[in-house]
């Protein structure tokens, strides 16, 4: 049973948004193509990154809590993580778009983005020798600069609000992964390569990692929505 903890966590994360995907008001299933396109794009970056960090021992997986099936040196559960977590978070994002279309953060979105750019820049410069911190926050910094200056995205206020809400399930799921409920963590981290700061059991760097991961998926999803509704891309 213990060997399936990570797998069960993946399935629990998936269950609710999957069950509610066909619900008649939001019809989240409409957004599936955009969400899965976003997951594919994000995975092109995140899967090799994960393989690299696992092989370097920046983080690793506790054999006790995984099924033992590996693909490309990553447990099958970790592959599933990259699908179910963005899927569940995109669901929250679209639920928010449905029930609160005018984000209260929208008027301040450019300022929030500018502050986040500054924070992630400072973190990546100060911790240039900690590879998890540096990689995460330098990439996040570049992506946010692209959004603020080049793309001038107008959905960031909504994204930031969704991201705040996502912190609640994130605390549970990532808490479970980092050993909040088990004797040992399911996923362990080498503290020499991160900020060495934990919220409960979660490394603070994970918040940036999570934001980078979700923002890539949401960016692709938003591009997909624009094309789908303006008819540039015909969807059958």
């Amino acid at each position: 049973m213990e060997h399936y903890y990570y797998l069960i966590l993946d399935l629990l994360t998936l269950s609710y948004p999957l069950a509610k995907s066909f619900e008649s008001r939001l019809k989240f299933v409409r957004y599936w193509p955009g969400v899965f396109l976003g997951i594919a794009v994000m995975s092109i970056l995140f899967v090799p990154w994960d393989v690299w960090f696992t092989s370097k021992g920046v983080w690793g997986f506790n054999e006790q809590y995984i099924s033992g099936i590996h693909i490309a040196n990553l447990p099958i559960e970790e592959w599933l993580f990259f699908i179910v977590v963005p899927f569940a978070c995109s669901f929250i994002y679209e639920v928010l778009n449905y029930f609160l279309p005018n984000s209260p953060l929208k008027p301040a979105q450019d300022k929030i983005t500018a502050v986040l750019i500054l924070v992630s820049f400072v973190l990546s410069v100060l911790f240039v020798d900690r590879i998890y911190t540096f990689t995460t926050f330098s990439l996040l910094c570049l992506l946010l600069i692209w959004h603020l200056l080049i793309n001038k995205s107008d959905y960031l206020g909504q994204f930031f609000l969704a991201f705040l809400i996502i912190q609640i399930p994130f605390l549970m799921v990532n808490g479970a992964l980092t050993g909040l409920f088990t004797e040992e963590p399911i996923v362990w981290y080498n503290n020499a390569e991160n900020l060495n700061l934990r919220i409960l059991t979660i490394p603070v760097d994970d918040i940036g990692y999570n934001m980078l991961m979700l923002l890539i998926v949401i960016t692709v999803l938003e591009q997909y929505k624009v094309r789908k509704f303006s008819g540039v891309l015909t969807v059958s």
Partner: protein, 154 residues
């Protein structure tokens, strides 16, 4: 000490040349994609053009960092010179001329009138190809003469 100060001041003036050069040949050339929304305004506080601040910050940051790592040698003062030019450019170009912040409203000085006029002349042109007055802090003498004349008449 004196040498370091000279390095800082000459870097500052060299950056005026770099700004003129990149403005004329990069921003109004290959980099027009980033510079266009500075001439043809779009909604919002930020511009694609602000990317150039970040690009110019890279050499400043690297010179400063490596200078400090090598015991505060000449590189530090090159880095500081670039940063100081960036700050001046921001205050003069973005705040004083383009009024992105509501500061320095009551300045009335020949030099400031002249550089503002020269930059407004640059902005008469909305497109990439034609253009004049690509400098920022150093501008042709005729704008000084004009500024003096208009100050007398007003």
């Amino acid at each position: 000490m004196v040498l370091n100060f000279l390095i800082l001041v000459s870097t500052f003036f060299f950056m005026e040349f770099m700004a003129w050069f990149t403005h004329k040949y990069v921003m109004h050339g290959l980099g027009w994609y980033f510079h266009r929304d500075h001439h043809q305004h779009e909604r919002g506080f930020f511009e694609k053009n602000d990317v150039f601040f970040l690009i110019f910050a890279i050499p400043s940051w690297l010179f400063t960092m490596f200078g400090m790592m090598d015991g505060n040698d000449w590189k530090l003062f090159v880095g500081l010179g670039i940063a100081l030019y960036g700050l001046s450019y921001f205050l003069v170009h973005d705040v004083f001329i383009h009024r992105r912040f509501d500061w320095f409203k009551r300045t009335d000085n020949v030099y400031f009138r002249a550089i503002r006029k020269a930059h407004k002349v640059h902005h008469k042109h909305l497109n990439k190809e034609e253009g004049e007055c690509f400098g920022m802090l150093i501008v042709p003498f005729k704008y000084f003469r004009e500024a003096k004349r208009s100050m007398k008449t007003s």
